[in-house]
Structure formats: C-alpha cells, structure tokens
C-alpha cells in the first residue's frame, strides 16, 4: 500500500513532468529559433574564411584578432584596428544621441498624452502607433522627401525668401539624427506613456501645495515615478539604434560606415564571414554590457528614492 506521502510525491512528479512536456514546444522554439542561429554565428567566428564567401571548417582565431587589431598592409606593423574603433564609436555615439533626442521629445509627448481626458487619450495613442503601419524603409524615404534639396522644407524656405540657396541637410549627420529620432520616437513614447498613465496626479498637486516649483515637481515626483518607463524606452531605442542600417544609409549617403554596414561588408563584397560573425558578437557584448551597467545604475538610484 502506498502511503499518502508516496501518492503525493508521485503526483508531484507527474505534475513536474507535465509541466516540462507542456513547455517543451516553447523551449524547443526558443532553443532552435533564438539560440541555434546565435551558436552558428559563434562557431563561424572561429573558422577560416572561404575563398569566395562562406567558411572553411578550419579553426582560426584570426577573425577575433582582426576585430581589435590590424596588420597594416603597407608597413606590416600590428596596431589597434583604428578603422573598426572609429566605426564602433560612430555607431555608439549615434545610438546615445538618438536615445537622448527621443527622450527629450518623447517625455513631454507622453506627459501631454497622459494628462488628456480618458477619451482623447486613446486617440493620441492611436496617432502615435500609426507610423508602425508602414515599413521602416518607406518612413525613411518620407523623411528624405522632406529634407532633400528639392524637398518640402527647402522649397518653403526658398519661396519665403528666408534662404537664397537650399540648405544641404540630406547626407549630413543632422539628417541621420532627424531620421533616427523620427523612426524611434514611438518606441520611447509608448513605455513612458504606460508609466505616466498610472501616475497619481494627486501627488503632483500635493507637491504644488507644498510650494514646490514646477521643475522640482518634475524632478522629485514625476520623473522618479515614471522612471521604469524611461528605462524601458531608452533600452528599446538604444539597442536597435546601435544596429541601425537603413536610416543612416539612406539619409547619410553611405560615405561613412556604421557597425551594420561594416558587418554587411564582410558577408558581401568583403567575403570574410568569420570576421562578420566576430563583429556581430562584439556588438552583442557591447549591448549586453551597456544594458547591465544601465540597469544596475538605474536600480541603485531607485533604491535611494524608495
């Protein structure tokens, strides 16, 4: 006779087994769809490039060395891969500036939306999501039509006589930033709005009652309370901005490579798949490091406020 304890144990075992079986499909999908390709990238980064693309199954750490070090093709000296560092730095800088720009634009937008009446809020939310209905490339080309020399902005400025020759915006860093801020703005607004919507505005009133200035209310009450949204928004903008490909190419003119262009070069005309793989993983490591640092910092200051 089985004791009650044994029966309970068996039931528990069954329960555990059922749980595993039920979650197996999801786990398999995650394993193969998410981890699998990444593993291939990792393996490829340790192989030898094939003569015309593809890889040779021969171990080599060359790809990893050439991510950071380069042998000068003319005087054969080994030095820090200055070109790679420049390109990495350009992409990181762009991602940071894009995050700051979308934050500066997105925070007031979210505040505005959250302070509308409940009925109109849905309308504003709907308007913010409209750009997602179209493809990224098309949105970028729309920006191009606005800022190009024969575009809307320059035509209006010329007609009004404010400028005598069109302002060259297209193919400058400003153009890239305008495009990036436009494309990624909704990703910043939505999480901040989600936090802002839950904000108890009586706290804001209480702040004013206690003679806090507007700035103080913003800094000491609103900002700490919507901080999770700001963090989520920054992460959502920073990561894709780091790998941005279409927007910098179309609006920047492709003269200066971004990280993504450098990686694409290795898989295309450069025919060095291992280097491309190693560069991709380096990007992932940078993103992960940035995230850890950011979340940790955010967590610490959060405790202080709590």
């Amino acid at each position: 006779m089985a004791t009650a304890e044994e029966v309970a144990k068996a039931a528990e075992r069954r329960d555990v087994r059922d749980r595993w079986l039920l979650s197996a499909p999801a786990l398999l999908v995650i394993l193969f769809a998410a981890t699998g390709p990444l593993l291939i990238v990792l393996v490829y980064s340790f192989l030898t490039p094939g003569a015309y693309g593809d890889v040779k199954w021969q171990f080599s750490a060359d790809a990893w060395t050439s991510v950071f070090l380069e042998r000068d093709i003319f005087d054969d000296t080994l030095s820090l891969a200055a070109a790679h560092v420049t390109i990495f730095w350009r992409s990181i800088k762009l991602a940071v500036v894009t995050t700051l720009a979308t934050l500066a634009l997105g925070f007031p937008t979210a505040y505005f939306m959250a302070t509308r009446s409940e009925k109109t809020r849905d309308l504003w939310l709907f308007l913010i999501t409209i750009p997602f209905w179209t493809n990224l490339l098309i949105r970028t080309f729309a920006v191009l039509q606005i800022i190009r020399n024969e575009g809307i902005v320059n035509t209006i400025l010329l007609k009004l006589g404010i400028v005598s020759a069109p302002i060259q915006i297209l193919y400058t860093d400003t153009a890239i930033l305008i495009g990036m801020a436009y494309v990624y703005l909704p990703l910043m607004v939505l999480p901040i709005y989600a936090s802002m919507e839950k904000l108890d505005f009586r706290l804001v009133e209480a702040g004013y009652d206690l003679y806090a200035t507007r700035f103080k209310v913003l800094r000491k009450i609103i900002f700490p309370l919507v901080k999770p949204g700001v963090i989520a928004g920054s992460i959502l903008v920073f990561i894709p901005a780091l790998g941005a490909y279409v927007t910098p190419s179309v609006l920047g003119g492709g003269k200066n490579m971004m990280l993504s262009n450098l990686i694409e070069l290795q898989f295309g005309q450069g025919r060095n798949w291992p280097l491309g793989s190693a560069l991709s993983i380096t990007v992932m490591i940078i993103v992960m490091a940035a995230l850890l640092a950011y979340v940790r910092n955010a967590g610490k200051s959060g405790v202080r406020h709590g």
């Binding site: 093709i73 790679h84 193919y171 492709g254 262009n261 070069l265 005309q269 025919r271």
Partner: protein
Amino acid sequence: MNWKTTATAMGLALLASTGLARADGVLNIYNWGNYTSPDVIKKFEAKYNIKVTITDYDSNDTALAKVRQGGTGFDIAVPSQTYVPIWIKEGLVQETDPGQMENAKNIAPEWANPDFDPGRKYTVPWAWGTIGVVVNTDAYKGPANTWGIIFNTPDELKGKTNVVPEMGDVMFAAIKYVGGQQCTNDKAVLKKVRDLLVAAKPNWIAMEYNTIEKMGAGDFKATSDWNGSALRQRLANPAIHFNYPKEGYGLWSDNVVVLKEAKNVENAKLFQNFIMDPENAAGLSAFHRYANAITGSDKYMPADMKDAPEVVIPADAKPLGELQQMCAPETQELYTKIWTELQK
C-alpha cells in the same frame, strides 16, 4: 463519412491546382531585380507552354551564397563574368553546351569565346555593359572622359559627386587612374590608390546606388555608374552624359547558367537558346537597357537605344575597355582593408 468528404475536397483541390498549372512545364529563374523583360517571358511562355517564375537577388554574393546552400528550386541564374568561373569550379552549374545550340551562331564574335567560359560551354550572354563617369553638363562643362571627375573632383562638382559603392568597380577605376593593372597586389600602387581614395572622399556627397533618381532630381551632378543607368538618366534629362574614362574603364557581362540542381533542365536549355534569338535579345535589352552580345539584334532595338552613346561604344573609346576579372582572395582581402579605411 467525414473523412470521405475531406478526401473528396482534397481530390478536388488537387484537380483544381493541376488545372491551373496546365502548362507543359515550369521554369524557375533566379535573376537580378528589375532585369527580366516581362514581354520576352510572356513570349517564351506562350511559345513552349511553360510557366515561368522569377525570383530576385541584389548581389552576386547573395546569389552565390544561396545557390551554394542548395535546395533553392531554381533552374537558371544570371551571375556576372567575375563570378562565373567560381560557379563552374564549385560545380554549381551544368554543362549545357550553349555554344552548340541552334541560336549560338548569333553570339557576337567578341563574346563567343570569353575567358570566363571558353567555348561557351555553360553560359549564354544576357547583357553586357560598361562602368564610366556620368556628368550633368549644366553643372560642369569641362572634359569628363576621365576618372579624375571622381578622384580629383573639379571645383564645380565638389560636394555634388556620388560614387556607386561597388568595391570591385571603385578599386578597378582607382587603380587605372594611378596607372596600375586590374587586380594588382603591388603595394606601391595600392598605397597610391589608398591615398587617392582617402583624399577624394571629402569631395563626394554620397556613396549610393540610387543614381537614376538622384541625378534626375539634381541631388548629384556627377557619379560613377553603369551605362544602362546613365542611358535612363539622359532620357530623363538630356544634359546628363555618360563618359568613357581615358585611363581605361571596366566591362562586365551577366550570363545565363543552368544550375546543377535544376529540375527543369530541358526547359532551361530552351530558354538559353530562346534568348540568343536576335529579336528576343533585343526585347531583353529594351527592358534592362543594356547591350546584349547578339548579332542582328540592333534591327529590333528600340529607337532610343539604337545609336545611344551609352550602348554603342564610340570607336575611339573601344580599345580602352577591359573585361573585369575576379581578383585572388588575398588581393581581395587587401582591397577590403583599403575599402574599410575609406569608409571608416
């Protein structure tokens, strides 16, 4: 009873699908985007009762990588001359011996026995062209038959010149400009090339493929480009001219091959023969706007292409053209480094 209904429905569906594809066969073409004349395809479909599907690719590297993986279902691909030897060497294509086909007699003599496929054992010419310098003469009136427009940009064109970012083409042009041979790995020449490119870049406005629209709108006043693209630009704006650089310019040719994994080999061979017919070759040209290497096709060419200086190379520029080759992998590696240095 239920399974019977299902079975009947499935049977009917099968019947319907075979009814839809009543053609005697199919042919799956893998080609560059916006490159295949729908009219010529319709004619081919009607003549042989074959249903044709077309899938696009955007670079030789993409096409090669995909076909290497296998299982594509494509019967035909159209690699450039630089890549054809790789396709042959790696056993990706079938020896269909188009040189012996009925219409092979139409291949122009200078294209009948090319280095990349001696005796035309695998390939049929699809299109060929040149890479030169395009200038809007409203902006610059000086002599433009030189790579100097790109690498030593005249003041009028500074900040208005574009370079099409094809690494191989740009390296070819820069090496020619400093007086070297294509695919050179001579460090002295390459150093000159690197310095030339780095010094030239500040005068460029962009490195883009989208030249037809940007030259048309006036964002660019000069660009390096393919001749067919230049033709479209001139038709939109007569002030835009294509120039054959005196330092030497590159020739290219795209070629139809039958894949080893092709399931419809006979249909593919029919197609190879079909496009060597002068009228059909002219039909292809009318769409992709490049020359076709088929003798007698000029009769059927559209009027705006017959004497177009972009398509018919002027006699004095003819000897300056040189078929571009695939450089050795080690050389390619040097070029990639210079290219990265240029675009960093």
